[in-house]
């Protein structure tokens, strides 16, 4: 930017250039005609002073001082000045007197020296007047209870100035300057909320200034008490509440806020969670216990003074108990049943009744009121129901009888409601009677008789059932007989009994055949009846026992299994119910025209047949056998016309069966 433009003067104008030239001439003439130099202050001693201090002497060191006539100025005010050392010429140190009033307040004073001869004045030098460092001798009050509320704190000490500030744990508080030895500060309620120790200091601002030493202010914990210090609620029914009270007392003169609570997650609760106890007063408080389950519970109630750290605890204990239910069948031990559980009635024939005694027990320490007892079924009825509502005393019980009278052979379930609980009443009505018919007490072996199952009375529902075979052998060598089976296979035959019928149907037939086998013993037939999955078999289980007797052997076939010119093999098939054989008799008859006489051959077969019947191989066949007897013929085999065979056991001899050659 052009200089002329900066100065606002047109560039190159004549008046301006003339003025500049005149100034330069004047300056040069002043230098040429004045040889003196102004004094220079190089040091002040003391360099500073404390505000409020006493009079003192200030020594100003410098150069350019004259032997006499130099004056020290204090903030432009001339002060009596003398050389510090009269023998020094020119002097380098000047002494002047500073009054206490000059340093009454902190700040900065300007020191200059004016030469008495030339009248020249030195450059000013600053002199600092510092604030003092305060100190605390005492504080009032020095202690308060937590929560006591806002208060004024009086601080005694020294070096207090009007700008002194009282600090509360290092933080400034509103401060009033009373005197250089006393300050007053406002302490808020918040400052006194929590118990503990507080560092109190006083601070003076700069210049100088600083912080005093620390005085300790104590905030004490409020004193409260709770009685009793423990509560035992005893046995309380699950889902119900029990209440006990405590008294909280404030031993302080000032009100104390209380925050009350119980162990988190516990079934105990206080009636009020926040309240204030007046100074010297007491407050009652209820605590409830509502157990959610059958269990022992231990917890604590806490009475806490917010912020103060003060707390009182009350131990809490109680046990959750529940109503217990039990039922008792005739001449049986009581059985417990839980709500939702099943009370099983004994199965009973249609039209008959069976009773169960039901009992409700109240184990709690308080009475329990039952207002409802009912069942929605006519087959389950109450016999001695108490008047409702009925109170079940603490530790007492309530008893009544339920009767089950089925009308059909079926599973019956109904809901029993007893107060807050429900139960399932379950019973099965049984068929009144059934018979297995079609058999005599003794049946021959290897027969296939038919049996039927009949109900004593019809029912309006379809029933299913099974007829089951069993066998117990009494043979000389006992064994099961796998051929004892129903025609449908196996030893179990299924049947149905149509609604309103008494006759069992086996795959559409009114009876079913079974094989009696070939082993002596007892065949048992047992019927079972169902309605769905319910077993409705009569109490007297339909059973029929038939015997297979020890009989003489039976031969079912005799054949010439093979034949050669010198022999043949005879095959004899049959059975012997005692599973024993003693003798085989072969009676040979000559061919017509032959001269070979007829003959009989008795053979003891006891041992080989005992071995056979004792063998594992024989067991699938009951008492059956196929005996192959090889004959070696010495003579004319063609002379034999036929052979007749009989077999003998302890029960007798079989009929003869022949085979022709």
């Amino acid at each position: 930017m052009p200089l002329a433009a900066e100065r606002g003067v047109p560039h190159g104008s004549v008046p301006h250039r003339a003025f500049l030239f005149l100034a330069i001439i004047l300056s040069c003439s002043l230098v040429l005609f004045s040889q003196e130099t102004p004094p220079v202050i190089t040091e002040l001693n003391p360099p500073s002073a404390v505000a409020g201090g006493a009079n003192f002497t200030l020594v100003v060191t410098g150069t350019g001082f004259m032997d006499e006539g130099d004056v020290v100025f204090w903030n432009g005010s001339a002060r009596v000045t003398v050389p510090d050392s009269p023998s020094e010429s020119p002097p380098t140190r000047l002494r002047t007197f500073i009054r206490a009033s000059d340093i009454a307040t902190a700040g900065t004073a300007t020191i200059t020296v004016q030469n008495g001869f030339s009248g020249l004045t030195s450059s000013p030098v600053s002199f600092t007047i510092n604030n003092p460092v305060p100190s605390i001798s005492s504080i009032k009050p020095s202690s308060l209870v937590a929560g006591a509320g806002a208060t004024t704190l009086t601080v005694d000490g020294s070096n207090f100035i009007s700008t002194s500030v009282v600090r509360w744990n290092g933080s400034d508080r509103p401060t009033s300057f009373v005197s250089r030895t006393q300050l007053q500060a406002s302490i808020s309620a918040g400052d006194l909320a929590a118990a503990g120790s507080v560092a109190v200091t006083v601070g003076n601002p700069s210049p100088g200034g600083g912080s005093s030493g620390t005085a300790t202010f104590t905030i004490t914990v409020p004193r409260i008490s709770v009685a009793p210090t423990g509560l035992n609620f005893g046995d309380v029914l699950v889902g119900t509440a029990a209440t006990l009270g405590v008294m909280i007392s404030n031993q302080e003169a000032t009100p104390v806020p209380i925050s009350a609570g119980t162990t988190a997650g516990s079934p105990f609760a206080v009636a009020s969670q926040m309240f204030t106890i007046p100074g010297g007063g007491s407050v009652p408080l209820n605590i409830t216990f509502m157990p959610p389950a059958v269990a022992n519970y231990d917890a604590a109630a806490s009475f806490f003074i917010p912020g103060s750290g003060g707390e009182q605890l009350v131990g809490l204990s109680g046990r959750g108990v529940s109503l217990s239910y039990q039922y008792t069948l005739a001449e049986q031990a009581p059985a417990l049943v839980s709500p939702g559980g099943t009370i099983p009635f004994p199965s009973v024939a249609v039209g008959a009744s069976v009773s169960v005694q039901f009992q409700l027990n109240n184990p709690s320490t308080s009475a329990f009121l039952i207002d409802t007892i009912n069942s929605s079924s006519s087959v389950f009825t109450f016999v001695d129901l108490p008047a409702l509502p009925a109170s079940v005393p603490a530790g007492g019980s309530l008893t009544f009888t339920i009767s089950f009278t089925p009308v059909v052979p079926a599973s019956q379930t109904e809901t029993l409601t007893v107060g807050p609980s429900t139960f399932v009443l379950a019973g099965i009505g049984l068929v009144t009677g059934a018979t297995i018919s079609g058999l005599t007490d003794t049946v021959p072996p290897a027969q296939q008789p038919k049996v039927s199952v009949d109900l004593s009375s019809p029912y309006p529902i379809e029933l299913t059932g099974q007829l089951q075979l069993s066998f117990t052998s009494n043979a000389d060598v006992p064994s099961d007989d796998p051929s004892i089976q129903f025609s449908s296979g196996g030893r179990v035959a299924n049947f149905i009994i149509p609604a309103d019928s008494t006759k069992a149907q086996f795959a559409g037939a009114p009876d079913i055949a079974f094989s009696t086998g070939t082993v002596s013993g007892t065949i048992g037939l047992t019927a079972s009846l169902q309605n769905g999955t319910a077993d409705v078999t009569p109490t007297t289980i339909p059973t029929r026992m038939v015997d297979i007797e020890h009989l003489a052997p039976a031969i079912t076939d005799v054949s010439i299994a093979s034949r050669t010119a010198t022999g043949f093999e005879l095959a004899v098939t049959g059975y012997s119910t005692p599973r024993s054989l003693t003798q085989a008799t072969f009676r040979f008859t000559q061919r017509p025209g032959s001269t070979v006489p007829t003959g009989v051959l008795n053979v003891d077969v006891g041992d080989p047949f005992t071995a056979w019947y004792q063998s594992v191989e024989s067991q699938p066949f009951g008492s059956q056998f196929r005996l192959r007897v090889p004959f070696t013929v010495q003579g004319d085999i063609n002379a034999i016309g036929s052979v007749s065979v009989t077999l003998t056991n302890a029960a007798g001899t079989s009929e003869a069966v022949s085979a022709n050659f």
Partner: protein, 360 residues
């Protein structure tokens, strides 16, 4: 258990001498001569195999699949239950399954290339007809099971239709056939000597059998509800009524004769039962809780009435004075319609060499 002990049995040496009383020596020797009895066999179509029936009449049970070593698409058992003729499932081979030994022996019967769909034994079980309806041919085979003496092929193409019902005489020489045409069955005989000739007419012949050791035959007419005897087949072919609806013949499906030719058993399908006709007069009806489909001889006096199925196998026991119907329960339902037992690794299948005989 002393296994050796129970195997001790008897060997009897008979001394037969003229003029002397019969005498015998008895000696103990080790043998397996006492075993469980086998009542017979039945073809299990679902398993393509034969099954053994254990036991005696009235106390029997179904056994396991008999290990023949091949799967069979059909099989016909001999009356003695000692062998069966069948067709293999995979190759369609005609085979003879020898049941007298275990494991099984299976013999291939050659020269029966036609598809065999029916096998008819004579009552003795030593001859059989193998019928190929598809080709209107049949093959006569004799000397079964051990020494098949030959096989004769008979061409039936001259007949108006393929015959469906057959009977074979015990000597294996005479064949009786029924051809159904409309509402009439025409009966034809065949012998090597006289060839095919018509012997009579009937309503609907449903079963025919030759009498044992005879050339007379018995036939059942389902339409006429009659059973009649045909005498002198190669001559006058005289027809004699044996039983009719009055005796209980309602729907005959099968018939069989007793060994002594004294009784004819006729199976009625509806109502299920068996009529036993005595040649000496009289008839007896034995009801059955079943629908009979056959009367297959299983030994002397036992006859199979039904096929193997999920129902009990039904038998007719003609042993006593009065016939009785018996069941054979399925012993193990898992195997009743189940899979065939794994085949032996080396099935003993061989071929029979049968000399060819001339046929028509």
């Amino acid at each position: 258990m002393n296994t050796r002990r129970h195997q001790l049995l008897l060997q009897i040496i008979l001394l037969l001498a003229v003029g002397n009383p019969l005498s015998g020596d008895v000696a103990l020797f080790a043998s397996d001569s006492i075993r469980g009895p086998v009542l017979g066999y039945v073809f299990d179509r679902s398993s393509n195999a034969l099954r053994r029936i254990w036991g005696v009449p009235g106390a029997s049970r179904m056994g396991e699949v008999w290990p023949a070593g091949v799967e069979l698409s059909m099989a016909q058992l001999s009356s003695g239950q000692d062998f069966a003729l069948g067709v293999t499932k995979t190759e369609g081979r005609m085979v003879l399954v020898d049941l007298r030994a275990e494991p099984g022996r299976v013999w291939t019967i050659p020269q029966t290339s036609s598809k065999i769909d029916q096998v008819v034994f004579n009552s003795r079980g030593d001859s059989a007809i193998l019928v190929s309806s598809e080709n209107r041919r049949l093959y006569l085979i004799r000397g079964l099971p051990d020494s098949p003496s030959g096989i004769s092929e008979v061409n039936l193409s001259q007949l108006p239709a393929a015959p469906q019902i057959f009977a074979l005489s015990d000597d294996g020489q005479l064949l009786l056939m029924a051809v159904q045409g409309g509402e009439v069955s025409t009966l034809y005989s065949y012998s090597g000597a006289s060839g095919i000739r018509m012997v009579g007419l009937a309503g609907q012949v449903s079963a025919m059998r030759f009498l044992n050791q005879s050339r007379d035959a018995v036939a059942a007419d389902r339409q006429a509800r009659e059973v009649f005897l045909i005498r002198d087949l190669l001559g006058s072919a005289e027809r004699i009524l044996l039983a009719s609806e009055r005796e209980g013949i309602t729907s005959p499906v099968a018939l069989e004769l007793s060994k002594d030719n004294q009784r004819v058993y006729v199976a009625n399908a509806e109502p299920g039962g068996v009529v036993t006709i005595n040649f000496t007069g009289g008839a007896q009806l034995t009801p059955c809780d079943c629908i009979p489909t056959a009367l297959e001889r299983m030994g002397d006096s036992i006859f199979r009435l039904t096929e193997l199925s999920d129902k009990p196998l039904m038998l007719l026991d003609g042993t006593g004075q009065e016939s009785r119907v018996l069941f054979v329960p399925m012993d193990d339902k898992r195997t009743a319609g189940g899979s065939v037992r794994p085949l032996p690794k080396r099935p003993t299948t061989r071929s029979i060499r049968i000399p060819q005989r001339g046929g028509r």
